[in-house]
Amino acid sequence: MTNTLSRAVGSPLARLEGPAKVSGAARYAAEYPQDQMAYAWIVPSPVPRGRLDAVLTDPAEEDDVLVVLWHGNAPHLEKSDDPELAVLQSDRIAYRGQPVALVVARTLEGARRAAQVVQLDITAEDHDVELRADHPDLHTPDEVVPGVPADTATGDVDAALATAPATVDVTYSTPALHNNPMEPHATIARWDGEDLVLYDSNQHPSGIAKTLGTVFGLPAERVHVIAEHIGGGFGSKGSARPNAVLAAMGSWVTGRPVQLALPRQAMFSMVGHRAPTVQRIRIGASLDGELTAIDHESWTQTSRLFEFVESPGVVTRSMYPVPNLRTSHRVVPLDVPTPRWMRGPGEAPGMVALECALDELAIRLDLDPVELRARSANPGYLSCLRRGAERFGWSGRDNRPRQRREGDWWIGTGMAGATYPANAMPSTARVRALGHDGYEVAIGAADLGTGARTILAQIAADELGVPVDDVHIRIGDSTLPVASVAGGSSGSASWGWAVTGACRALRESGDDEATFDTTELVGKMPTDRHAYGAHFAEVRVDAVTGEVRVSRLFGMYDTGRILNPRTARSQFIGGMVMGIGMALHEESVLDPALGAWVNHDLAEYHIPAHADVEQIDAEWLDEPAADLNPMGAKGIGEIGIVGSPAAIVNAVWHATGVRIRDLPVRLDKLLPSL
């Protein structure tokens, strides 16, 4: 690096926005007062499929109401690449909860009330919301993610499975899950002349400006998106959601600034979720645990509006070297909301099947689960297995199930591997020398609670050779240089790279402003690199009630250079906490008759609470991946939820001898076998 004294990167600097967040001063999207602000409330479709013929409003409610918009009177929108954003443009209803009308009123209470009493004239049609592995409409998607094929095959899987001395053939299923960031999706929209200003809760200000521009027929620079603080997203705020378009539409029609904050219930329909999966996995191995074949098949669902494919099989393509490997994805469009990204999309459910199936293989072979994986692990992964096992106190484990009992509790331990691709995406940053006031570093990035603002300041301070206090970071604004999405665990690598480049350019040129675009460099980056890790869990299961508690959870990671150990640890732990939720608590239940998520709130969709999280910790190897990017960093935001659910499921088996293959592990599934 340019400055041999550089020390900001790698130090546990406290979050720059911390004082604002603990004092209530940090402002989120719905918290910017506006003159004459109106409030919007969405009217969701009460049926999963059908046609909206008319919307009738109750004149008694009209006092407060400025307008009720629906496809019969809404302004025309241009097409974008996301059909979910074509709100109020057609009479077709594609899922229950889809916005079919929008009330804009002078008060929040008035808008909400009017939305409740609006009458919808609907012709309902028969619907189908049930995912089945034998559904006749299942098909092979062209790609699961742009550039990633649905199916792959190497070697002769069938022959290898037929001749393998040891095999497992198991089917795992994972339920629909909802991101549920603590801050609901929210937008305040205002038109300044022909320019659109949006205070919006999202993970990608630059991208949302572009998309909203497309929808309203404006160039991106005429749309100003502000997302200074974001109350979490976990993928659900990765691209524009209907709330941004509806708020802008409401503001256009009424001529007032409009606030639209989604109620929690609406976040179960129109902002995305992790689709349910059914996965059959077959593994063949030699008697000493060498993997000879894997076949990983998966089935999932999407909506009728947009094909989003949850892709559990992709992770199996790179996790272990196997000579005979086949992966496949099938998807069926149903009358359900559109699924989207949720933390570790593909990887999180995929590693449930793969790592639980490996546990079953280890049992069949009478091998320690760590040793089984160690035989196929690359060096970074192997270090995580070894050091993780040591730190957790794995050695001496009796691999037989149902051996430890303390009072009413069965105790067991389990483990699983972890991985996540090392991504980076093109971004641009700008640095300005401000004389005595230090430097301004500007990039249209977003800090969802990851610590992005803080690590960018650390990176810039080292590159400029100045204390962190001299660096002023500006992010969360689409008028700043274009940045990639805060997603795919790519923020630090993508934005840090651009900031590094801009700081170096400033120093080299001697000018007082420099801009750096990483597009070309990112294009040359190796694309087949991954972070690895290992998760270890200890659980106790109440022999009488079947209640499962996670007594200890530990993650050891090989994620390149850690830029800030304090915020990194929080991200790892946060991912693992969500892993506890995925293993034990979370599931969205779709009622087949109504086509509705029946547990669509935080009382019935259970996310881990304080009392669910006992001992939990993370460590890392901290070995820079120098060939990836100038920081030597790999992403850390998602790997904590990849594999940690499997470690818990495996620990439940070890505690009780009961193998649950249908997540979450609920007590009613355990109890009959306890």
Binding site: P19, G24, R113, P184, G231, R264, I573, G575, V577
Partner: protein, 164 residues
């Protein structure tokens, strides 16, 4: 109607009977420290202190609280110095996105007062000596959800604040 918030008196004219305390704070007084996570009493993001006790302000209709004294996260701390609970959250990185944080902090302040008065929790045994053991803090704080999973860092933050 009169409402005292963080020591300042407010006269609320033309208050809609349907308006919650949370919406009065956020939309009328622009005290947006109190957050809306669910509007149904299910997440704790809107926690404030009402006459010294922690409450979910989204569950309280403002007109039912004439002359109440409300403390929000903005009103904690003294003369620019953070409250010990706020200080603890900063020192232990007890948050990530920060959206649950004002509610967590107000809840912790209220909870520490309950502990000081010797109130038991669901996990308190008849022979419990330490009402601020880790399990006690976790139980007593379980009404405040954090989707970022910052719980493990909040526990030491809260325990240390109790000693300050």
């Amino acid at each position: 109607m009169r409402l005292t918030v963080n020591g300042a008196q407010h006269h609320l004219v033309g208050l809609d009977p349907r308006t919650t305390l949370l919406d009065v704070l956020r939309e009328r007084l622009h005290l947006t420290g109190a957050k809306k996570g669910c509007d149904h009493g299910q997440c704790g993001a809107c926690t404030v202190l009402l006459d010294g006790r922690r409450v979910n302000s989204c569950l309280i209709l403002a007109i039912t609280q004439p002359d109440a004294r409300v403390t929000t996260v903005e009103g904690l701390g003294h003369r620019g110095e953070p409250h010990p609970v706020q200080q603890g959250f900063l020192e232990h990185d007890g948050f990530q996105c920060g959206y649950c944080t004002p509610g967590q902090i107000c809840s912790a302040v209220g909870m520490l007062d309950e502990v000081a008065q010797g109130w038991p929790s669901a996990v308190t045994e008849s022979d419990s000596e330490d009402l601020l053991a880790d399990a006690e803090i976790r139980e007593r704080m379980s009404g405040n959800l954090c989707r970022c999973g910052a719980y493990p860092n909040m526990v030491p933050a809260i325990r240390e604040a109790a000693g300050r």
